[in-house]
Symmetry: C2
Subunit: 452 residues, 2 copies
C-alpha cells in the first residue's frame, strides 16, 4: 500500500528483474533488417508476457504496417489520472562487430555495467518503467491508471506509429505520457529531465556521372569522378568553424534567451565533458555557442554514410551519401529540404546528374518545465538520487513524443537512466546497473507523487 | 610454311578458338579475392594445357609469393630473334553485379560481341597472341624463338612479378616483349600502337575522429564528422576546372612538345569521343590540354572508393578512401607520396587523426616509336586492318612493361585489340569478335615481319 512497500518490492525482486533484462537483450530485435523479423516478434511476445505477469489487462499485440505495438493497461478508476507508459523494444544494428568486446546479443556484466545492444537504448529503460509499474500493481491500489504502449520501430523513425495513434485514439486516451527514452544523465549521481528534443530530416543524395564504371587510367583526366563531386558538395555544407552554410538554414531556429543560456552554461556539459565521452582529439562547431547549445538548441547536418566505388582501378558510375539534419524549434523539415535542393541546384556541376530522396522527420520540440507531471518527476528524482535533477535539452529526436503531442495532444514527461558514455548506437553499448536500479525507485516515487 | 598458310590456319580453327575463349572466361579468376584462389589455379592450368597443345616446350607453372606465372617456350635457333609474349589470366571483380545484362562468368554472344568479365581485359587479348603463335608453330618453322609469360596478378598491381623477373632472369632472356594489354582502339577500323603509359601510386587514407561511433543527435554539433573531414580533404585536391592543387604535383611532368601536341590533336580522341564512350553529361579536366593529353600525358588523381558509416543515426568513428594517382614521365611515386603527406599535414584539422598507406606503383614510360619491332607491328597492323595504325598514349599503367624494362632491360611492343567501349573494369565488359579475329591475323603478320 505504501511507497515503502513498493520500493521494498523492487529490492526483493531486483535479481529477477536483472535476469529478465538479460533474457530480453538476448533477442536481436533489429528493426531495420527484415532478416530479424522473427526476433522482433519474439521480443514483442516476451513483453506481452511480462505485462500479463505484472497484472496488466487487455494485453495484446496490435499490428501496424510494420512491426507490432505491444499494448496493455491497468485501469483503477475513471476519475484517476492516466499515464501512458511509452517504450520501444527494437534496437539498432550492432555493426561494426569487430569493435565489441563481448558479443552484442550475449549480455555480459563487467564491473557495474551490463554490456549488450539495447541495454541502454532502450530495453533497460523500458523494463525500468515496467518493473516500477509492477511494484505499484503488486503492492497496493494506487489511484492511478496505467496504459502501456511499446513500439518496435523507434530505431527506424517510428515509421508507422502516427497511423497507429490515429487508429487507436480512444484506447490511448491519457493525461500524459511517461517516456524514459530521453537518455543521457551526465554522470551516475545527476538525474535529469529533458525539456527539449531536436527533430530531423533524412536525405539520400546520389550523384550520377558516367553511364558505367570506367577504367581510371583510360578516363582519368576527362571525366569528373562522382566521388569527387559528392565530396565537394559535402565539404561546401560547412565553413571551417562548423557553421552550416545553407542560406536561410538558421533563420527560423528559435533564439536562446539569456535566462536559458545562463542555465545551460551551468550544466556539466562543457568541452571537457564532450571530449571525455567522445574520445575525439578536439571539438568543433559554431564557436559562438556553448557545447550544450550546439547539441541541444542549434540545428546540425551530419553525413551518416558515404558509399561509393570498389577496391579496383575504376571511376565509379555513381556515389551516394545519407544525410541526417537535426532541426530545432521553429524550423521545418520542408524548409530544410528546399534549402538543400536549392544548394544542389546551385552547386552541382554539369558533369553529373543528381537525385535527392527526402525522408521528413519530426520538428524539434520544447515541453513545459512547470507542468504538474514534470514537477512530480523532479521531486521523485530528488528522492531517489538525493539530488535535484538538471533540466537539459537533448540533441536526439523521439518521434513518439512529437506524434503524441501533434496527433493526440498528449504531453510527455521525459527522463531516462542512461549515462552519456553508454554508447547507444555504437559498439559496447552498456547499462550502468546501480543507476538503473535507482531509476526504478524514482519511477515508483513518481507514480506515488502523481497519485497524491 | 608461308604467311598465307598461317593465316588460313587461323580461319580454319576460328570456331575452336572462340569456344576455347568461352571456356577460359567461365573461370572467375579474380586475383584480389582469396576466395577465388582455386579459380586462379584453374585458369593457370587451363593455359598451361593450351601451351602444351600448341606445341610449346618446357611448359610449367612457376610459383611466386602470390599467384603462379604460366611459362612455356618454343625455341627454334639460338641465333633467331626471341620474343617474350606477355599476357595475364586474372580479372577484376565484376561488381556491381546488378548492372550486368548477362552473368559476368557466363559468356554470352550478343550481335558481334562476346560479353564476360575478362573478355577484353585480357583473356581475349592473351588468347589472340597464343592463337597467332599456334598458327606459326603448326604451319612451319619460322626463324623466331617464342617465350610465353602469363601472369595472374596484373589486376592487383603485378605484386610479385618483379621478384619473378629477378629470379628467372636467364630463362626470360629475350630481344623484346609483345604486350597486347595496351588496349583501346578508338573504333573497329583503326588499329593502334601505344608508345606511352601512365604509372601509378596507390594510397589508402583513413580519418579517425571519435573513439567509437556516436549518436548523431547526442554529439552532432560538437564533434567533427570524419566523413566531413575526408570529403573536405578530397574536395581540396582539385580546383574547379579539374587541376590538381597539390603543390609541386605537375612540376616534373614531362612537357608535351609541339610536334607531339600536333600528332595527338590529329587523333580521334576528342571531346565527342570521350562523351560518347563514357556516357557522362559533360567532360572536365585541365582546360589548357587536349582530352588525349589529359588521359595520356598528364597526371591525375582519382578516389576509387569512399567507404564510411552505416545506414543509422551515427557519426562514424572513422572514414576511409582509396586513392589512385596516375603519373607520367618524369614524375616519381615517392614525390607524389611526399606531396600528398605534406598536403594532409597542412590541411587535416585538429579534430581528427589520420593514417596514410602508400602502395608505390611504376613510373610512367615512353617507348621508342622507330625501333624495328615497332615498325614490324606497324606494317603488320596495316596489312591486317588495311589502315595505318595510330600512335597513342594510353592513360593506364602496365606494371609488366615497366618491370621488364627496369629489371631485365627489355622493351615492349604495345598494342591490343580492345575497343574503347569494351568496359573493362566495368559491368558488361565485352570483346568485339571481328576485331579480335583481325588482331590474330595481325599478330601472324607481325611474327613473319620479325622473321624477315
Amino acid at each position: 500500500m505504501s511507497q515503502d512497500s513498493a520500493v521494498n518490492y523492487l529490492d526483493d525482486h531486483y535479481k529477477r528483474f536483472q535476469n529478465e533484462l538479460v533474457e530480453l537483450l538476448r533477442i536481436p530485435s533489429i528493426s531495420h533488417d527484415p532478416a530479424h523479423k522473427a526476433d522482433i516478434d519474439k521480443a514483442a511476445h516476451w513483453l506481452a508476457d511480462k505485462l500479463h505477469a505484472m497484472g496488466a489487462d487487455h494485453v495484446e499485440l496490435l499490428p501496424t504496417e510494420g512491426h507490432p505495438v505491444v499494448y496493455g493497461e491497468a485501469i483503477v478508476s475513471p476519475s484517476a489520472p492516466t499515464v501512458l507508459i511509452y517504450g520501444h523494444y527494437d534496437v539498432q544494428s550492432p555493426e561494426p562487430l569487430a569493435d565489441w568486446k563481448s558479443q552484442p546479443f550475449e549480455p555480459e556484466i563487467r564491473g557495474e555495467n551490463l554490456y549488450a545492444r539495447g541495454a541502454s537504448d532502450m530495453k533497460g529503460q523500458t523494463l525500468a518503467s515496467l518493473n516500477a509499474a509492477e511494484a505499484i500493481l503488486k503492492t497496493g491500489n494506487l489511484p492511478l491508471n496505467l496504459k502501456f504502449m511499446l513500439e518496435g520501430e523507434e530505431e527506424i523513425g517510428s515509421a508507422h506509429l502516427n497511423d497507429f495513434l490515429i487508429q487507436h485514439r480512444e484506447k490511448l486516451k491519457s493525461d500524459f505520457s511517461l517516456n524514459t527514452d530521453a537518455g543521457g544523465m551526465p554522470d551516475a549521481d545527476t538525474p535529469s529531465i529533458c525539456y527539449s528534443l531536436r527533430g530531423g530530416a533524412g536525405f539520400t543524395l546520389t550523384i550520377h556521372g558516367p553511364a558505367q564504371d570506367l577504367h581510371s587510367g583510360e578516363y582519368g583526366g576527362v571525366i569528373q569522378n562522382p566521388i569527387h563531386v559528392l565530396s565537394r558538395l559535402i565539404a561546401g555544407l560547412h565553413d571551417e568553424q562548423g557553421r552550416v552554410t545553407l542560406p536561410g538554414f538558421y533563420e527560423k531556429a528559435r533564439v536562446i534567451d539569456e535566462e536559458e543560456h545562463a542555465e545551460l552554461a551551468a550544466l556539466p556539459f562543457d568541452d571537457e565533458f564532450f571530449l571525455k565521452h567522445s574520445g575525439a582529439p578536439a571539438l568543433w562547431g559554431e564557436p559562438e555557442f556553448l557545447p550544450a547549445e550546439r547539441v541541444g538548441a542549434r540545428p546540425t547536418i551530419e553525413v551518416v554514410m558515404f558509399s561509393a566505388g570498389q577496391p579496383k582501378a575504376a571511376i565509379p558510375a555513381s556515389a551516394s551519401a545519407r544525410f541526417l539534419f537535426r532541426l530545432v524549434p521553429d524550423q521545418s523539415a520542408d524548409d530544410a529540404h528546399q534549402q538543400f535542393r536549392t544548394y544542389l541546384e546551385t552547386h552541382a556541376p554539369p558533369t553529373v546528374t543528381w537525385d535527392l530522396q527526402f525522408r521528413p522527420g519530426g520538428s524539434g520540440i520544447i515541453v513545459d518545465r512547470k507542468s504538474p507531471p514534470t514537477l512530480a518527476m523532479k521531486s521523485a528524482l530528488k528522492t531517489a538520487f538525493g539530488r535535484e535533477p538538471i533540466f537539459q535539452r537533448v540533441g536526439g529526436g523521439i518521434g513518439a513524443v512529437l506524434m503524441l503531442k501533434g496527433t493526440l495532444g498528449i504531453d510527455s514527461v521525459l527522463t531516462g537512466f542512461s549515462l552519456y558514455d553508454d554508447n547507444f548506437h555504437g559498439p559496447n553499448e552498456k547499462l550502468h546497473l546501480p543507476t538503473w536500479q535507482k531509476g526504478m525507485n524514482a519511477l515508483v516515487h513518481f507514480f506515488h507523487e502523481l497519485a497524491k
